[in-house]
Amino acid sequence: MNRILFAEVNNQPEVLMRIIGLLRRRAFHMKSISMVETENKALAHLMITTKEEPESIERAMLLIEKIVDVYKVKTMDENMKKEANLYKVM
């Protein structure tokens, strides 16, 4: 089943680079990536859809949490993603 890694981050392109770089190095499978500005323009929501096992996602979350520009990380399923009404940009 697809799972979604959700993170609230500073709205800067290098945050996306940091997170994707970190996951790439660990051969983390990414089906889709989206990052959108929130109502508060200083923040963005990042969502990565993946088929990784929960254990691998959990480990990735621990690493993402350490990034200074990241405020919150959680996992979602696909239904929650629709509710979140976020747009795919990449």
């Binding site: 290098e14 770089g21 190095r25 480990r59 350490k66 200074v68 520009d69």
Partner: protein, 549 residues
């Protein structure tokens, strides 16, 4: 008060009590050095021979003093030359702030002269990095950088500043640095009680002590903890010095080149207490075989280390200093005589004779003493030092553990000597590592640093040769570096003292003369290229699979 960006950088460094800067000027940082020209009464700037030396210098300064190391470099090659130093610091959790110049904003993205995307390059090897486009934000960025570098698990932070930002002016308001608790303790008392119960029930526990103890200044707490419970201590490379090696409970280095008693104690234990250590592959060999019957307690400040390389039964997140103090209070006093006697049987008591590394290090320790700060390069000499130099105090063994950077030790020794002018600094190098960055002898000469280099010259890249001997049927591909450099002439060219020795008596005399001279001295020790580092565990094998000779 209106100041330029360059002046703001220096004022912010003053706020942080920085007075030593390692660096190298260049086009993009001319305004920064111009501002520094007026502040030479406050700052000691150490001009190295190469930016890599500056980054290792800041690293050695940080590791030996516990302060944040600061390094300046210009844009382009200046910045890329610091990359190995930054990666070295990142792998060993060393707090650095590296400030690089960048081309002016109007030239960015145009492949301008000396333009490189250094924040992009250093993304995976910094704890955080900044590209400062706006002079208004500069002061807060620098303050945040120091906070990030030294809080929690420390690490390097890079700040990239375009030349125009150094020149623009804005209002600067001085801020007092709040001495916050750098490492919050997040675990609950419940976990500490559970851990204490596990330890009190254990009959064969082992403490696996890592660099986190040094970073957290927790050596005293570790001593109280280990001696109250009579628990033997094995050390990682980064953890050497966190527990006195001459204590009966100290088993020394563990892992690939670990001591036999240290490795076998871990394998036979029923409880491993990992403290500020990360279960590196060079330590654990095969994860499942590292204490196969042992429960594992992991104490660390970094949640992402828990369960990364080895499954654990219980973990405590937080500052090891505070956790150890709490844990010691709940510990029962036990003698664990049977377990300690069993470990005693694991020891190998085989003394080497002649001019061998083990005896050279014993001689250096006898002459130079316990307070000496020892830095190493990477290779056989590094492992011999880790095995045989009896470190007693934290921050006295400075070596590139995670990245394994040949060429690290001389720069680091310069940093350690600058940060500890009253202490003896001994730099131990192999000939392969030494020739990588020996240009920094110019820095030793320039600042009249009285440090001593012990150059282990076996005319080969010894550690690789050892692997070729053991695992590649003695096919010595490109590891011989025979007779290519006359090191004594090289040392003389830098105006330093050089001596060449091939026996212990001459070595002792040479060391005493070096101390007496107060001058930077290189003592070349001629060794056999067939000397190998033992014990050794073959790569990919469990750590009880020890080759002794």
């Amino acid at each position: 008060m209106k100041l330029t960006g360059a002046e703001i950088v220096l004022e912010c460094l003053k706020e942080q009590d920085v007075d030593k800067i390692f660096g190298y000027p260049g086009g993009a940082v001319i305004p920064l050095y111009d501002a520094l020209y007026d502040k030479m009464d406050h700052f000691d700037h150490i001009l190295t021979a190469h930016e890599q030396g500056a980054s290792h210098g800041a690293d050695g300064y940080a590791r030996s003093t516990g302060k944040v190391g600061v390094c300046f470099a210009t844009s382009g090659p200046g910045a890329t030359n610091t990359v190995t130093g930054i990666a070295t610091a990142y792998m060993d959790s060393v707090p650095l702030v590296v400030i690089t110049g960048q081309v002016p904003a109007n030239l960015l993205g145009k492949d301008s002269f000396q333009e490189v995307d250094i924040t992009g390059i250093t993304l995976p090897i910094t704890k955080h990095n900044y590209f400062v486009k706006d002079v208004e934000k500069l002061a807060d960025v620098i303050r945040d950088a120091f906070k990030i570098a030294e809080s929690g698990r420390p690490g390097p932070v890079l700040i990239d500043i375009p030349k125009n930002v150094f020149l623009e002016k804005t209002t600067y308001v001085k801020k007092e640095v709040l001495k916050e608790n750098k490492r919050a303790c997040t675990s609950s008392n419940k976990e500490i009680i559970k851990a204490a119960d596990l330890i009190n029930q254990s009959s064969k526990p082992v403490i696996y002590a890592g660099g986190g103890i040094v970073l957290s200044e927790a050596a005293n707490e570790l001593y109280e903890f280990a001696t109250k419970g009579n628990i033997p201590v094995v050390n990682t490379l980064m953890g050497l010095g966190s527990f006195p090696r001459d204590h009966d409970l100290s088993l020394g280095l563990v892992g690939m080149h670990g001591m036999r008693d240290a490795n076998l104690a871990v394998c036979g234990s029923d409880l491993i207490i990992a403290i500020g250590a990360r279960f590196s592959d060079r330590v654990i060999g095969i994860a499942e075989e590292f204490g196969p019957k042992a429960k594992v307690i992991h104490i660390d400040i970094d949640a992402s280390e828990i369960g990364k390389n080895k499954d654990v039964d219980l973990w405590i997140l937080g500052d090891v200093k505070r956790v150890l103090a709490d844990l010691t209070d709940m510990l029962s006093t036990k003698d664990r005589k049977e377990w300690l006697e069993k470990i005693e049987d694991f020891k190998v008591n085989k003394e080497k004779t002649g001019f061998h590394a083990e005896n050279i290090l014993a001689c250096a320790h006898k002459v130079l003493g316990d307070e000496t700060i020892v830095t190493t390069e990477v290779g056989q000499h590094q492992m011999w030092t880790a095995q045989h130099f009896p470190f007693k105090n934290p921050r006295t063994f400075i070596s590139s553990g995670g990245l394994g950077t040949m060429g690290y030790g001389l720069g680091a020794a310069i940093g350690a000597q600058v940060g500890n002018p009253d202490k003896r600094v001994l730099h131990i190098a192999g000939d392969g590592s030494f020739r990588m960055n020996c240009n920094e002898l110019a820095t030793v000469a320039k600042y009249k640093l009285p440090m001593i280099t012990l150059l282990f010259n076996n005319q080969t890249l010894g550690m690789v040769r050892q692997w070729q001997k053991m695992f590649c049927h003695k096919r010595y591909a490109e590891t011989d570096i025979t007779q290519e450099v006359d090191y004594m002439k090289l040392v003389e060219a830098y105006g330093l003292r050089g001596e060449k020795v091939d026996n212990l008596l001459d070595l002792e005399d040479a060391l005493r003369r070096a101390i007496q001279s107060g001058k930077g001295t290189v003592i070349e020790c001629l060794l056999s290229k067939d000397d190998c580092v033992f014990p050794m565990v073959p790569p990919g094998a469990p750590i009880h699979n020890i080759i002794l000779e």
